[in-house]
Symmetry: C2
Subunit: 294 residues, 2 copies
C-alpha cells in the first residue's frame, strides 16, 4: 500500500497562508503580486506540514504552530525565487508557471525574495504561539541559522561553485545537507521546540529529519532525471543540462533509489527511539517521500 | 562650531562587529569573504551608533544593545550589496571599493546579501541583551517590518519603478521614508525598546528618527550632486545619471539645503519633549547629519 500525503495538514497550511499573508491591495502592489505569485503557485507545503506533524507528535495542537510553519514556507519560497534568477540557475519555469523574474523582472524578483524572508521573521514575532517567549526566540535562531551561511546559503554557494564540474561525494553531501537539508531539519525541530519536546527528543527528531531531508533530495534528483514535465512542473533534466551535482549523476539511478530507501529506513529507525509517542504520521511522511512521483 | 561625530560609539560598534561576525575560516570561505568585504569597508556605522545613543538616552548602557546595533548594520550592508547589483543600480564602486558583485560575481553577491540578512536575526536571537525576552521578540518584529515590503523593500521597489522618470513629491517622499527612513527609525526605536522606554517616549524618539532620516537622505542626495569622489567614495552624480528621484532633482540645491535644515530642526524639536532625559547626544547627531560632507 502506498503512503498517503497528509492532505488535511496541507489544507491547514494553505488556509493559514491565505489568512496570514498580506493582500495585493498593499502598496506597492507589484511586490505583493510578485511574492504571492510564487507563494501561491501550488506545491505540497512539505516543510510546514512537517512542522505541524512534529508539533503534533509531541502533543501540541498543529493549529498553534501555524505561524512558524508558514514562515518556513515563506523562507522556502524566497529561496526558490532567488535560485531561479538568471544570475543563479536561470530557470524560467517552476511548478508549471513562469518564474518570478520572468513575470516581474529581475529587480523585483530579488526584492520579492528579500521581502518574503523579512516577512517570515515578522510573522513568527507577531503571532502568539506559546506562553514561553524564550521558545519563540529559539525558533527565530533556528530559522536564521538554517537559512543563512551556516545552512541554506552555504549549500547554495557550494552548488553555484560546483556547477559545470564533477564534484566528490563530500561536496555533494554538503550541498544537499545544507541547501535543502538544514531547512527541513529546522522545520521538524521548531515544531518539536514549540511543543515542548525534551533535548533528547529534539536530538532524535533532528536525526529523523536529517535522513528525511536526504531521502527528499535524492528523490528530487531522481525525479529530475526520470520525471515527466506535467507532473514535476519544471523543465525535466534541467539539473543535468547545467551539470549540477546530483545523486543520479554521481551514483547512477539504481544506486540512488537504494540510497533513498536507506535514508527512509534510517529516518524511521530514529523514530522507534521516541518512546510513548505516536510516530506513525512522521513514519508515513518518510515513506511518502521515498515513493513520491512529483 | 561644527557638530562632532560620536567617534567613541563608532569604535564600540566597529569592535563588536569584529567580535560577532564569523571569520573567513568558515566554510564555504567565499561567502564569508564576500560578506566581510562589504561589512568591513568602512563607513560611519550611523544606524548602530543611533541605536547606542538611543539606548543611552533612556538609561541603558550602550554596550548592552551592541548585538541589535550590529544586526542593523548587517541589514544595512545587505541592502547596499543588493542595491548595487547589475539588476538594480548597477554600481561598481562603493566607499571607494569595488562592489561585492564586481569582486565575487553576481550569484555570490546575491547570496552574501541574503546571508547577512539571516545573520542579523541570528545575532539578535543568540545574544542575551535584556532579561525580558518579550523585548527581544519585539525588536525582531521591528527589524523584520522595517526591512521588508512594509519598509525598506517597499521603498526600493518604488525607487526601481521610478528610475528614469520624473516622480511627484508623494512618491519621492515614500521612497525616502521607506528605503532609508524605516531602518533609521527602527535603529532608534530598538535602542529605546531595549532600554525600557515608555510608549510615549517611544513615539517621541520615532518622530525624532523620522526627521533625522529625512535630513540624512536629503544630505545624501545633495552630496551625490556636489560631493567629491574622494570624500564620498562612490561615483559622483551616479544618481543623476540614472535619473533617480532625488531632492535636488525635484527641488534644486538651495531649497534642498533648506529642507535638510528644517528636518534637523524638527528632529531637535521632538527631543525637547523628552522630559528628564539628556538628549544632547541625539541633538548633536542631528546637527552632524545636516552638516556632514561625506
Amino acid at each position: 500500500m502506498r503512503a498517503i500525503y497528509p492532505e488535511e495538514k496541507r489544507l491547514l497550511v494553505e488556509d493559514a497562508l491565505h489568512r496570514f499573508f498580506p493582500s495585493e491591495d498593499n502598496y506597492p502592489q507589484v511586490i505583493y503580486k510578485a511574492m504571492r505569485h510564487s507563494l501561491f503557485s501550488g506545491g505540497k507545503r512539505f516543510r510546514p506540514v512537517l512542522t505541524l506533524l512534529s508539533a503534533e507528535t509531541f502533543g501540541c495542537a498543529p493549529e498553534r504552530v501555524l505561524p512558524t510553519a508558514c514562515a518556513i514556507e515563506y523562507i522556502h519560497t524566497y529561496s526558490l525565487i532567488h535560485d531561479d534568477l538568471p544570475a543563479i540557475d536561470n530557470d524560467d519555469l517552476r511548478r508549471g508557471q513562469p518564474t518570478c523574474h520572468v513575470l516581474f523582472g529581475e529587480d523585483i524578483a530579488i526584492l520579492a525574495g528579500n521581502a518574503l524572508f523579512a516577512e517570515a521573521f515578522y510573522l513568527v514575532s507577531a503571532k502568539q504561539q506559546t506562553d514561553d517567549p524564550l521558545k519563540i526566540i529559539r525558533v527565530i535562531g533556528e530559522l536564521a541559522s538554517a537559512s543563512g551561511a551556516r545552512g541554506m546559503v552555504g549549500g547554495q554557494v557550494m552548488d553555484v561553485l560546483s556547477s559545470g564540474r564533477r564534484v566528490d561525494f563530500a561536496t555533494l553531501n554538503f550541498i544537499h545537507t545544507h541547501k535543502t537539508g538544514e531547512l527541513i531539519k529546522a522545520a521538524a525541530r521548531v515544531g518539536a521546540i514549540l511543543a515542548g519536546a525534551s533535548e533528547e527528543e529534539l536530538a532524535i527528531i533532528t536525526e529523523y529529519a536529517h535522513h528525511l531531508g536526504l531521502a527528499f533530495q535524492i528523490t528530487d534528483d531522481i525525479l529530475d532525471v526520470v520525471g515527466e514535465t506535467v507532473l514535476f512542473g519544471k523543465k525535466i533534466g534541467s539539473d543535468r543540462e547545467q551539470l549540477k551535482p546530483t545523486f543520479p549523476g554521481t551514483f547512477g539511478l539504481e544506486r540512488s533509489r537504494e540510497l533513498a530507501r536507506e535514508e527512509m529506513d534510517k529516518a524511521k529507525e530514529a523514530l522507534t527511539r521516541l518512546k510513548d509517542k505516536d510516530t506513525r504520521a512522521l513514519a508515513n511522511l518518510a515513506e511518502f517521500v521515498r515513493e513520491r512521483e512529483s
